[in-house]
Structure formats: C-alpha cells, structure tokens
C-alpha cells in the first residue's frame, strides 16, 4: 500500500491535471469529471464523489490546481453548507440526487432559517410544515435569504409539532424553490442595497422523501449547517476571487462568481474599511488634530490586536483543536473594530460625512461605510448573543432562567408580520 504522503498526492493530482485540464472545456463538463474522479472534493468519501483523503492534504491539492490555473468545483454561496449537511444527515437518495449538481454549479441553494419573528432565537421559528397524508404542506415566512430568487433548492427549518418544546418540534426539509407556493421578494436594507430576500410560503409542497433525518431532528441538523457556515466564512473571499486568465471556462466561471458575489459587494464597507482611515486623514488634513490622532491610533491598535486574535484561533484550528466558542470573541472584536472605524471615518470626513453618492467622499464609499457598519454587530449572531456565548461557555457563568421550555404552543411569541 502506498503511503499517502503529501508528495504522492501532489504528484497524482499534477499528472491527472496535466492529462485532463483544458481551459476551453465547458464548466459543467469539467466539473462533472472532477466529481467522477473525486478530485473536486478529495476529502469527501469515495462513495460520494470524493477520494476519502485527509483534510490536511487539501491545501497541497488546491495549490496544484492553482499552479496550473485549473478551475475547481462550485463552492461559493450556500451550496457547500447544503452538501456538508446532506453528507452528514442526508439519505443515500439525497446524496445521489443532489451532491453532483451542487458541485457542478448547476443547482443553487438557499438557507431558510431566520424569520421575522425569530432572529437571535432561531429555535422560535413558526413557519409550519404539516403532513397531509401525501406530502408536507409549508406555510409561513423566512427572511434574510441570500440567493433565494435564483435558487433551485432551499434548506428549510420548519415546525412540525407545536406540543413539544421549541427545539424538539422542528424538522429539516429540502424544498423546491421553483414551485408556485413560494414567493420571493427582495428585502431592501438601510444602505440601499437589496442583498437578501424574504420568502413567503403558501401551501408549498415537500414530498416525504425530502425530509432530512427524522421528524424532530431539525434543530440538530440546522446546527450542523451553521457550524459549516462559520467555517466557510473565511473561504468566501478566496473563492470569490475572479481570475483574469483567458479561456472559455474562465468566462463561465467569472459569470458564476459575479452572480453569486453580487450580494456581498458592500461587505468590505460593513467591516469599517480600516485600511482607508490613514489615507483619508491625510487627504482631509485631520491628522494634525491630536484628538483625531488618538482615535485613529486606538482604532489601528484594536484592529491589529483583533487580527492577532483571529490568527491565534486559526493557529489553534491548524493544531487540530476544536473550534470552540472562542470564535465569538473574534466576532465581537470585529464589531468593535467596525464601529470604531465608522466613527473615525465620520470625524475625519467632517461635514462631507453628510454626503452620499457622487456628492460624497470617494463617490459615496464613506457614506456606504457609515450605513453598512450597523450590520456587523447583528448579522450572524448579534453582539449580545456573542456576549452570552462568551459568558456562559468560555467563562462558565450561570445561565439566564428561561421562560420558553414548555410546549411551544404556550410560549409567548411575536405576531405575524404584515406583508
């Protein structure tokens, strides 16, 4: 038996790429071949489009792809969360039916978890799925759904039992997003973009075979999806990079990336654009003001320390330590950085901080920072939720008494939101 050293794997993939890679092929055809050979997702099981290789070898394989400019399987968006969830909890039927078209990029997926009435308290979802003897019938509303308007499939968390406690009464479904019972509307944000959707279900149908796991497993399975969401966040930027190489397949890939990355155009501004602070202060002459200097320096220090903290968390992960609630510290730090950066940008810009669009500094970029930063401390778990996680799971402080442990039917909740 050959030992699977990095060197051996590198040579394998290099030979295979040399024999098969051609930038003039069609994207779907190429990705089908990646799925067939397992080189697209080498760490997936051999039975399911992978090669069963250890995760530790992935960087070496990716490096070989990058060296020759070979395009990989489709990765951006929700698709890999869907794939990871199905690999872990899906039936063989689900895997056979869905995994391949996830990797080829032919199917786009969306995640239907958050609702108008349940944001931080995801387990308080009230979108319902009732079995009518033939199929599950879905009614309710989801919110903050990226890509819902061009998705084929959705990962749906819905309530199937109202007499059980909240976490126990939920189930997890794969729902066809192209059916008439689903209406998708863009949701406009305070910064003017509409990057997300609201999704309305009116007697939408799910066939019984599209239940994932068992009835009542919904919460557990949703946690799998969310764990992968946190891990995938780092990779978003890397995979979203557009190649400037020549060839038919790159044109197709560019088109795909543009579509999927469109909702994330303002994300850099959401983080506060610390990189722009010093150049802006030079431009506006505010670097001479000692109080502004103090604020800038405080921000740069905070941002640098936060990078170290993130680096340390990554380092611990590389050493094989499980990713723990420490991630919440990093998220809270990022919120603090973004807010501090917005405050400094406003001070540095002076009166022109009132202006937006082409009248505003840097064609509205500064305005976009000021109007996007508030999302940082809310999206992906509010600062308050992060503080609870830090206090209860890192510092081991006592939990808040709960009022929502009985049958969900009796738990006080929000009235439905008017359309």
């Amino acid at each position: 038996m050959t030992e699977l050293t990095e060197q051996v794997v590198r040579e394998d993939v290099r030979h295979w790429l040399a024999a098969n890679w051609d930038p003039e092929r069609s994207l779907v055809e190429w990705r089908n071949q990646l799925a067939d050979t397992g080189w697209g997702m080498p760490h997936w099981p051999q039975a399911w489009l992978g090669r069963g290789l250890p995760v530790a070898l992935l960087p070496a394989i990716e490096a070989e792809f990058e060296a020759i400019g070979a395009v990989g399987v489709a990765r951006i968006g929700i698709r890999l969360l869907a794939a990871a969830t199905l690999l872990e909890h899906g039936s063989d039927g689900h895997k056979a039916r869905f995994l391949r078209r996830i990797l080829t990029g032919e199917d786009t997926w969306c995640q239907l978890f958050s609702e108008p009435g349940s944001g931080s308290d995801l387990a308080g979802a009230t979108t319902r799925a009732d079995f009518d003897g033939v199929r599950w019938v879905v009614n309710g509303q989801k919110l903050w759904t990226t890509s819902a308007h061009h998705s084929q499939w959705g990962l749906l968390l819905a309530r199937t039992d109202w007499d059980l406690p909240k976490h126990a009464g939920m189930s997890y479904f794969i729902i066809d997003m192209t059916q008439p019972g689903i209406e998708v509307q863009p949701l406009r944000q305070m910064n003017g973009y509409a990057s997300f959707n609201q999704v309305f279900f009116s007697d939408a149908a799910v066939p019984p075979e599209n239940l994932v796991g068992k009835v009542g497993d919904g919460w557990k399975i949703a946690m799998t999806t969310l764990a992968h969401e946190r891990r995938g966040a780092d990779a978003l930027r890397r995979w979203g990079r557009v190649s400037d190489r020549q060839g038919h397949i790159y044109d197709e890939e560019r088109q795909e990336i543009e579509t999927v990355m469109e909702p994330y155009r303002w994300y850099a501004q959401r983080a506060g654009r610390v990189d722009l602070v010093l150049p802006r202060a030079h431009e506006t002459g505010r670097l001479a003001d000692p109080t502004v200097r103090q604020e800038i320096s405080r921000l740069l220090m905070l941002s640098r320390c936060a990078e170290w903290l993130a680096h340390r968390a990554r380092h611990a992960k590389e050493l094989g330590r499980p990713e723990g609630p420490e991630g919440s510290l990093g998220k809270l730090a990022a919120s603090n950085v973004a807010r501090a950066a917005a405050n400094v940008h406003r001070r540095v810009s002076g009166a022109s901080a009132m202006l937006a669009g082409t009248d505003g500094p840097h064609d509205g970029l500064i305005a976009e920072i000021l109007l996007s930063v508030p999302a940082t401390s809310i999206a992906g778990g509010t600062d308050e939720i992060q503080r609870n996680i830090i206090a209860e799971r890192v510092l081991d402080m006592p939990k808040e008494p709960r009022l929502d442990t009985g049958p969900f039917r009796d738990v006080p909740r929000n009235p439905p939101r008017a359309r």
Binding site: L278, L302, C305, R312, A391, M397, P398
Partner: protein, 378 residues
C-alpha cells in the same frame, strides 16, 4: 510572531505559579505592603537562586539563565497575578535591561552576575519631577572628575530606589544638549551625598523613592554617546515587560469577579446570571485577550530582535494600561459594596492598575507614539 506557548513554557508557568501561590499568598502581600522595605529577603533569595528568575533573560555568560523575553513575559504575568511584593521589575527588568542595552561587555561581566542571582538589587533612576521616561527630560548633571563623574540632581519615581544597592542613573553630561550628552552611570548605594526618600504611593505593593544626588561619585557605563539609544531600547523592553505583568493582573481580576458573580445571590439568583453582569465580563475577557495578544506578540518581537519592537511596545503598553484599568474598575463594580472595602482584595490590584497605567507613559502617550511609527512606516 508567537501565538501559542510551548509545553516547556506552560510547565515553566505552572512552576512559577506554584511558587508564588506558596510563597506570596495575599496574606503575605498584605503584610509586606505595610513594611518600609516592601519585600521578603528569604523569598527574594529563593526566587533568584532556586528558580533563577532574577536573571531569566540574561545570557549565561553573565550569570543568567539565557532564556528569551517570552519566558520573562510568562514570569511577569504570574507575578502580576500574585501581586508579588519584590524588587523584580526594578532589578531583573528595568536595571537589567539598561545594562544589557547600555553597558559594555566588561561592565556587564562585572555587574550582571550578582544582579542575575538576586544577591544585589538594582534599579534604574530615569524620570525626574516631570514624570517622563524620555531622554529629553533628563536634567541630572554629570561632571567629569579625575576618577569618574560626580552626579547632581534629583530622580523621582525610582522603583525600589530606597532599597537598591546598585543604582543605574540616567544623567546628562554637564552643559550638553540633545541625545549626545545623555549617559548611563552606576552608583553603589548607600553612599555619601545620596539621599533617598520613600514616597507615599497609591500602590504600596510596589515601592517608589525620590533620590537626591549631591556630589555623588559615579562611574559611566557604555560608550560615549550611546546612552540615549540604550535608554530608549530599555524603555521599550520595560514597557513590554510591564504589559505582560498588567495582563496577568487583569486576567486574575476577571477570574475573581466571575467567581464571585457565580456565588453572590440577589433576587433569588446568582448575580452572574444577569446579562448586565455577563456582558460586562464578556467585554472584559475580550479586552484581556486583545491586550494579551499584544503583549505576547511584543515579547516575541523582542526575542526575535524584530525592528518593529518600538511600535509594538507602544501598542502593548497602551492596550494593557486600558485593559487593566477597565478590569479593575469593573471588578470592583461587580463585587458591589464589598468591593469597596479594605478587607476584600480587589482594591490591591486596582491600585497596581492605576499606578502601572501611568508608569512608563500612559495609554494616550503610547497611542501617539504608535501612530508616529505607523506614519513613518508608510
């Protein structure tokens, strides 16, 4: 940069922590802080000779242990936790770094071994009445004589200056201007013409003295013209060391506050179950972790002789100053009324935090310094 400690470093931390738990419990801290001397000579001797802590970062050829600044940082974190009452910072950090950075090799051979073993206690007298650790603030004058120099002037905020038997003095060659005239001198104490007055301080766990020099004979250290640069390096290293100590103090304050909040019952539940308290603690943990990252990276930078040391030292000191103060302020708040009493220990760290926040320059001072380094780098 260092992002994780090695197993050896963790073992080292454990042994220092055990020693301090046994030999410097809070009862001892409370006893020693009321004595004029301020330390226990037996514990100091054990710390120097059994543990070799007094010469941790000193090269072996000068009688030290030859470890890096990383190990020194670990020892200081533990001392900051324990609020150790001993002339460690003055002797093993401030004076030792002045000698490592500013003395010639033969002077180091002559002076360092006894300091590294703890036999002699040294300190660095730098700041004067304006309370600035800058070379431009040095006015104490040095006049050359037939067999050395005589010093005239006053030094303030001299850490453990009342007990040190080897005083490194930052002086100015008489009638000189600018950095070129700044030099380091060594004075053996006690000696005629040197008057030492123990200062009344907020933080009684670390003593400070005012030293008045009246025709005090002294020897010059280092090569002519090298004093200012040596002092600046010393200040950077001392700021990083102090940051490590402060992070240790901030962390133990948070641990104690969290423990108390879990026990203290009000309104039928532990106060630690209220989000008002939990969120405060979560924010404090973030502050401590950020300051810790800064201090560790700065210490690693010194160990690796990274050119960014001056900038990172400013960053570490600013972050540690604010994190420690905030932890101390909130720790008292979380303890409530009991936290304002003399018998509860929190105020002892609070006083160390107040004092350390301004020693070697406060957070605002270091923020300005950091920005200047960043501007120079772009």
């Amino acid at each position: 940069m260092r992002f994780a400690f090695t197993d050896e470093q963790e073992q080292f931390r454990t042994s220092v922590r055990r020693f301090l738990r046994d030999r410097s419990p809070m009862t001892e801290v409370r006893r020693l802080m009321t004595t004029p001397k301020g330390y226990d000579p037996t514990v100091w001797q054990q710390l120097g000779q059994e543990l070799g802590l007094a010469g941790l970062q000193v090269p072996v050829q000068f009688g030290g242990q030859g470890f890096g600044f990383g190990e020194l940082g670990i020892a200081l974190e533990e001392m900051g936790r324990a609020l150790l009452c001993a002339p460690f910072f003055a002797s093993a950090v401030f004076a030792t770094e002045a000698l490592l950075n500013g003395a010639t090799e033969s002077e180091q051979h002559a002076l360092l071994p006894q300091i590294a073993s703890g036999e002699r206690i040294a300190t660095l007298a730098w700041a004067e009445h304006d309370g600035r650790w800058e070379t431009s603030s040095i006015t104490l004058s040095a006049t050359e004589t037939r067999d050395g120099f005589v010093l005239n002037g006053t030094k303030n905020f001299v850490i453990d200056g009342h007990i040190a038997d080897c005083i490194i003095v930052a002086g100015r060659i008489i009638n000189s201007f600018g950095d070129d005239g700044v030099a380091l001198f060594v004075v053996d104490a006690p000696c005629s013409g040197l008057e030492r007055r123990l200062l009344e301080t907020i933080d009684t766990t670390r003593k400070q003295a005012e030293l008045t020099f009246n025709q005090v004979p002294a020897r010059r250290l280092g090569h002519a013209g090298s004093g200012a640069a040596a002092l600046r390096r010393t200040a950077d290293h001392a700021a990083v060391a102090l940051s490590c100590e402060m992070v240790g103090g901030a962390r133990v304050l948070l641990e104690n506050a969290v423990e108390y909040a879990g026990l203290r019952m009000q309104f039928g539940r532990p106060v630690g179950s209220f989000q008002a308290i939990k969120h405060k603690c979560a924010d404090l943990l973030l502050d401590v972790e950020l300051a810790n990252a800064a201090a560790c990276c700065a210490a690693a930078a010194i160990a690796e002789a990274d050119p960014e040391v001056p900038a990172l030292a400013a960053l570490a000191k600013a972050c540690a100053s604010e994190a420690y103060l905030r932890a101390a302020t909130e720790a008292i708040q979380i303890h409530g009324g009991i936290g304002f009493t003399w018998d509860q220990d929190t105020h002892l760290w609070f006083k160390r935090a107040q004092s350390s926040a301004v020693m070697l320059g406060d957070a605002s001072y270091h923020r300005e310094k950091y920005l200047q380094y960043v501007e120079a780098a772009v």
